[in-house]
Structures are given as structure tokens and as C-alpha cells.
């Protein structure tokens, strides 16, 4: 170091940190979660491939819940409000988040959409994520539970191919099971794959078209909602 002004050779300093790189998203998600708990709203992050039947499940959910619970949906897609339109057509308040080219929703997008949405009046808020089995898995939105829709037309090995998504799932909805008689899909094979990707595998088989399995799904939602300490039961 020079002794007249104190300048000198730069020296290297190493700082140990242990910071989650997605901590900004996690903070916003925690904020959303506080809102949901305080508002008495049970929030579900519904994920799955494009075409897995997420919107159809929500339409069936709306019909089944008709007088038993108020539901609303925030639907994420790259373009169009088609999913939100389908849900509005069955009387569900729905907002669309068009992400442009983003392949997932993050906590900030959900937070912003809440500002223009009557979410406090709901018992259940479904966030229908962008159809994708990869990226949505790593972004917490503030939900109480993660639900993954997996259709029987997609193949039994999807959990092994996309383990990050299935590991985070609280429930897998095996959808379109009314098509099983026409397919070679083996339900035992998908259950085995899920046992290798989910530590506590929970699976329900549903067919939105016929309504099969929908009462069990509604009962699962109600039980999980009762298990969360919401300020408004």
C-alpha cells in the first residue's frame, strides 16, 4: 500500500453467503401466502403439460362445487384468454395472465393479477399455471398445495422424466381416465413411477367429461383446506 494516500494493490476478499438465488420470488410468494391465509382463501397451484386437462378439471370442479364453495381461477398462458373465457362461461370468476414468452408463472405475476381480482370473496383460488412440466415447478407462488394434472394419454413414464415437477406435487390428478379402455396405459406403472419421485405419493383418478372421481377430488380439497390455518374457515 502506498503510504502517502492509502491507495494500493487491490486485494481479493472472499465472502461466504448462503443465499437462495430465487429468494426475491420466495419473498413475494410468502407475501401472497400471508394474503391468502388472512383472506381465508385456499390457493392451489395447478400444473401439468399443455393438454393435460387442467381447464377441464376446473370446469368440472366449478360444477361440482356449485353451492358448496366459491372458486376463482387465475389462468396463465403465453397468449390468449381462452382458458379464462372457458371458465367464465361456467360462471367462474377468472383472470388471465398472458406471459408472452415466459414458460411459467412467478409470484410477482400472481401478486399483480390479484389487484384486479375479487380473490378475497373466494374459498378456493386456483392458479392454472402455464402448460409445462418443467419450469413452473421451481417458482413458489404462495399456494397452499401443488397439484399436477397428468393425463393417461401422456404415458406412464412422465414422472420419471420430469421428477422435479412431481417431487413438488401434493397430489397428482390422473386425468381422462374414461379413455383407459382405449389405451395401453398401465395405471400400476404410473403409480410405481410416482413412488420413485414423490416421497408421499397421493393420486386421484378423474374424468372431467363423465365426472368420475370428481367427488373424491372435491373431498381432498375440502380436507386439505380444513388442514390449513386460514383466518376465515
Amino acid at each position: 500500500m502506498c503510504d502517502s494516500c492509502g491507495c494500493g494493490d487491490p486485494s481479493k476478499v472472499s465472502v461466504e453467503v448462503h443465499d437462495k438465488i430465487l429468494s426475491a420470488n420466495d419473498r413475494t410468494a410468502a407475501h401472497n401466502r400471508e394474503h391468502f391465509v388472512e383472506g381465508g382463501v385456499f390457493a392451489v397451484n395447478l400444473m401439468g403439460s399443455p393438454g393435460a386437462g387442467k381447464t377441464a378439471v376446473l370446469e368440472a370442479t366449478a360444477r361440482a362445487l356449485a353451492d358448496k364453495g366459491r372458486i376463482g381461477v387465475i389462468a396463465g398462458d403465453l397468449e390468449t384468454e381462452r382458458d379464462a373465457d372457458r371458465l367464465r362461461a361456467v360462471g367462474v370468476p377468472a383472470a388471465a395472465i398472458t406471459t408472452g414468452s415466459a414458460c411459467h408463472l412467478d409470484a410477482e405475476m400472481v401478486h399483480k393479477s390479484l389487484h384486479h381480482f375479487p380473490w378475497r370473496e373466494l374459498d378456493y383460488l386456483f392458479v392454472e399455471n402455464v402448460g409445462n412440466l418443467v419450469c413452473p415447478a421451481i417458482y413458489d407462488l404462495g399456494q397452499a398445495v401443488n397439484v399436477v394434472a397428468l393425463s393417461v394419454t401422456e404415458g406412464e413414464d412422465k414422472p420419471l422424466k420430469y421428477p422435479v415437477m412431481f417431487r413438488k406435487a401434493d397430489l397428482v390428478l390422473l386425468t381422462k381416465v374414461d379413455l383407459l379402455p382405449h389405451l395401453d396405459f398401465r395405471v400400476d406403472a404410473v403409480l410405481d413411477a410416482l413412488a420413485r419421485t414423490m416421497p408421499q405419493p397421493e393420486v386421484l383418478q378423474v374424468a372431467a367429461r363423465t365426472g368420475a372421481g370428481v367427488p373424491e377430488w372435491i373431498a381432498w380439497l375440502a380436507a386439505r383446506r380444513a388442514g390449513v390455518k386460514l383466518r376465515r374457515p
Binding site: C7, G8, P10, S11, K12, V13, S14, V15, E16, V17, H18, D19, K20, I21, L22, S23, A24, V134, C135, A137, I138, P163, V164, R167, D192, A195, R196, T197, M198, P199, Q200
Partner: protein, 103 residues
């Protein structure tokens, strides 16, 4: 991450960041190569010449009671205790170390 690093650097009056160490787990949902290429796109200012050191961790599951490891690809339940396994490592997306030049 860039914001966090710059905040640390400013707090120490650093002139540049020479190296960052991040840990990415095999089950984190982040692909190390893509993370590295995204990093080169946002390098500017104090980060212009930063070297990125990516530390990887494998997915390891074990029984939370008896600590027995679950074999890779196995059913995620302890055969002895009959309870769900817990992930020990593999889901990290962490900034672990910042090396900076200070006057």
C-alpha cells in the same frame, strides 16, 4: 442474484467481482449449462470479468429417522421404518461465495 452480489460488493467498496460460486442441485430444476449461459448475458459493470464456479450436488434421499440412504431411482420410502424419505441434497439453487477485489 446479480442484485444481491452488487449489494455485497457496494457494502465493501469492491471495485470488481472476480468469482462467484453457486450450488445447483440435480433436482433443482435449473440446468447448470443454461444458468452459465444466462449469466454471461447479464455480465456487466462489476461483473464484467467474473468467473462463475458452478458446484453441483446429486439428488440424495434418506430416511429421516434411521438415516438409511435410498438407492438412486428407488421407491422414496424407508423399507425398515416405513416412512417417507427426505431429500438430503439435490434441490439447492444457492449463491455460496463471492470473491471480490477491494482497494
Amino acid at each position: 442474484m446479480v442484485d444481491r452480489v452488487e449489494q455485497e460488493a457496494r457494502a465493501r467498496n469492491a471495485t470488481s467481482i472476480s468469482r462467484l460460486a453457486v450450488r445447483i442441485g440435480a433436482m433443482s430444476g435449473v440446468e447448470p449449462e443454461l444458468f452459465a449461459s444466462a449469466f454471461t448475458l447479464c455480465r456487466e459493470g462489476m461483473l464484467a470479468a467474473t468467473e462463475l464456479d458452478i458446484r453441483r450436488s446429486e439428488a440424495v434421499w434418506a430416511c429421516p429417522r434411521c438415516a438409511a440412504a435410498i438407492p438412486a431411482g428407488g421407491v422414496l420410502r424407508c423399507a425398515a421404518c416405513g416412512i417417507p424419505a427426505k431429500m438430503v441434497t439435490g434441490d439447492e439453487i444457492l449463491l455460496e461465495q463471492i470473491e471480490m477485489e477491494v482497494p
